[in-house]
Symmetry: C2
Subunit: 391 residues, 2 copies
């Protein structure tokens, strides 16, 4: 965490706000726009680390909430940190745990200090605060740490949104202070029972403000004043209309510091991602490719394909003949459908691998188009393919 930017812009598209760049971390670089497959419990569901590497994942996301509960951040810390624990040598971003605590937990008690909540695994009571969240993320040793925020519920009144973003603001300051304390003095970490395994962790602040554009601005100004290595847009994709989400992104993205990565949290569909890249967003994460895969929904260049559909019973074609992934290179729709219908593990593995590869390849195509100055053409053509609405 420092004043020097970890982000180098490489190219800006001429006719849109899309940009490409490179984020540098202790575990290597991430070319942006980048999609981060979600590795909730220290694994991107259904994929081996080798598959992720081969598919071109340059960074993955780990969930602080889940890893804190199981196997526990001190355990992972003792085993050398999350990279070593899961044998993943490339960059990792960890979320703050805020989103899970606020969205997955019915039973929680919010105070200025932090949040008390019950584990979804065994109902046991736990407490997360900015300091605790940062301690956990330091124990995990991720390359990018997220400040602990309150994910403002949707819908929220203006007063609720103000109160929430102000709390998030105070928590952001405490988050930064805590990470600085841990990195500057090993004794601070020792008192929390952890060892700092990655001295070069970057810290991102999280923009809130619900769908109120002036509150989004106010939140952003507060974060910039504190100063972060990157800025994330939180509190979207939580139930609001798609148009409201894009209104916020198109308003706030251009106001975010140009020399820092911009991360739109929890988004989204291929269409959403293309739309947000168009507005200047650099980083994304979403469970959609893996979760939908396990439900039989596959992303293709001609729209979504439901592998359960009987029309694929005799279909010897690959999932997507325009796709370059390891699944499309080797297996047919009929075979993948058979595996899925038979409840075979390999069904979940192959559908997940295809979907994650589809997302990663789409990001790669976007980066190339931005570099070539043809993002608008790429985007129009790709979106029209998606709109064909295969199922």
């Amino acid at each position: 965490m420092g004043s020097e930017s970890l982000f180098n812009r490489i190219a800006n598209d001429e006719s849109t706000k899309a940009r490409t760049g490179r984020v540098t971390t202790a575990h290597g670089t991430v070319d942006t726009p980048a999609f981060m497959p979600v590795g909730t419990q220290g694994t991107v569901k259904g994929l081996t680390q080798q598959m992720l590497e081969d598919a071109g994942a340059s960074i993955i996301l780990g969930n602080t909430y889940h890893l804190f509960l199981r196997p526990g951040h001190t355990r992972i810390n003792q085993l050398g940190g999350l990279h070593r624990f899961m044998s993943w040598g490339r960059p990792i971003l960890t979320d703050s745990g805020g989103f899970q605590v606020f969205s997955l937990n019915e039973l929680r008690k919010l105070t200025e200090e932090g949040v008390e909540f019950q584990s979804h695994i065994d109902g046991s009571t736990h407490f997360l605060s900015p300091e605790k969240s940062i301690d956990i993320q330091a124990a995990l040793g991720s390359d990018i740490v997220m400040a602990f925020d309150e994910c403002t519920p949707f819908p929220a009144t203006r007063d609720e949104a103000i109160a929430s973003l102000k709390l998030t603001q105070r928590w952001a300051r405490r988050s930064k202070q805590r990470l600085s304390d841990l990195h500057s003095d090993a004794a601070n970490a020792e008192r929390s029972g952890i060892t700092v395994v990655n001295q070069t962790q970057a810290l991102f602040g999280i923009n809130q403000g619900s769908t109120f554009l002036d509150l989004r601005e106010q939140s952003l100004a507060g974060l910039v004043e504190i100063g972060f290595d990157g800025y994330a847009i939180g509190g979207l994709s939580v139930g609001e209309e798609k148009s409201a989400m894009f209104e916020v992104v198109s308003h706030i993205a251009p106001l975010m510091p140009e020399d820092r990565p911009r991360y739109l949290m929890g988004v989204g569909t291929p269409e959403d991602i293309i739309g947000a890249v168009n507005l200047g967003i650099d980083m994304f994460d979403c469970v959609m490719p893996t979760r939908n895969a396990r439900n039989g929904q596959l992303f293709t260049s001609r729209g979504k394909l439901n592998i359960k559909n009987a029309r694929y019973k005799k279909d010897g074609q690959p999932i997507d003949d325009a796709c370059r992934c390891a699944v499309c290179a080797r297996y047919s729709r009929a075979y993948v459908r058979h595996l899925y219908m038979s409840g075979e593990i390999l069904g979940a593995v192959l559908t997940s691998l295809h979907n994650v590869s589809f997302y990663l390849d789409m990001m790669s195509m976007m980066r190339q188009a931005i570099t070539l100055g043809t993002f608008k053409e790429f985007s129009d053509s790709f979106l029209s393919g998606l709109a064909r609405g295969q199922d």
Copy 2:
């Protein structure tokens, strides 16, 4: 199927009956002693075909019963056969379906003609006969076809065992006739609604006779009179004492034709396999490595390891430090345990890959020891490792 042997013996161990050789098929060669991972529903549970190839699987087994019911042998036939359907270019052996019908099905009606049974999937009624089983296996296009047998239940009286082996004998003859008819005249296949996709399928006969040694001999003599490309020992590992199993194998294996592969069906533990190789057996199949993996039981050079055991929580060592597999090269016990306890797909994938690799590597070490004339030493040393009884 012909009088020329598909089996070339390469070496015999001097101090035991162990032997090494090579089985040649249209899809490549299989060095023996060989273990065949079981691909019940057109997939070895938990593994990609790439993982199987990398782990050194030279042949896998497909289950006629399961593929007949789902997705159906005609469907697979229309899609080019099982090799193409599952994208597996190496040899495949298919069982006859007899074992599943007789062991998995409560509801069945046995006549001279064949067996009527209810599907375990939807209760629908089906009929399997020697001709039907061979038709299915021809539709699948496996490299090694098994004659349709009655797997004699255990325990059986002498009279029951005699009746059963005689039925199996008559069915063996019908099986051979049917495969010959299908291969010699495409019209025969067409009338069954299938296309022969592999003209060079070999056919193995199955020895029965329960634990009566003279009946085993009688059964074998009958099979040899008919003439098969290889000979299997069936009806073992079905509930009898281990000593009874080895009594049968040690009695019958030396009587089996030396110039044909000898296949001990459904066996077994690493100790069982080493013991049977010692008696001159060439081929094995068993669900144990994959099924036990999904239950958290791992095979190691120091005995079985139960990954659920709390002692592995903080264990940064590989599953087996003597193992050369892709899992042991990359992941720790603590990580694999975490995945298993969290119900993650990757847990099943990694445990299955380790166990299958362990079996395949053990076979490779046996082949090498036999070639070097050191099988006895290898076997003593390996068995004493297994006996350390890690858990």
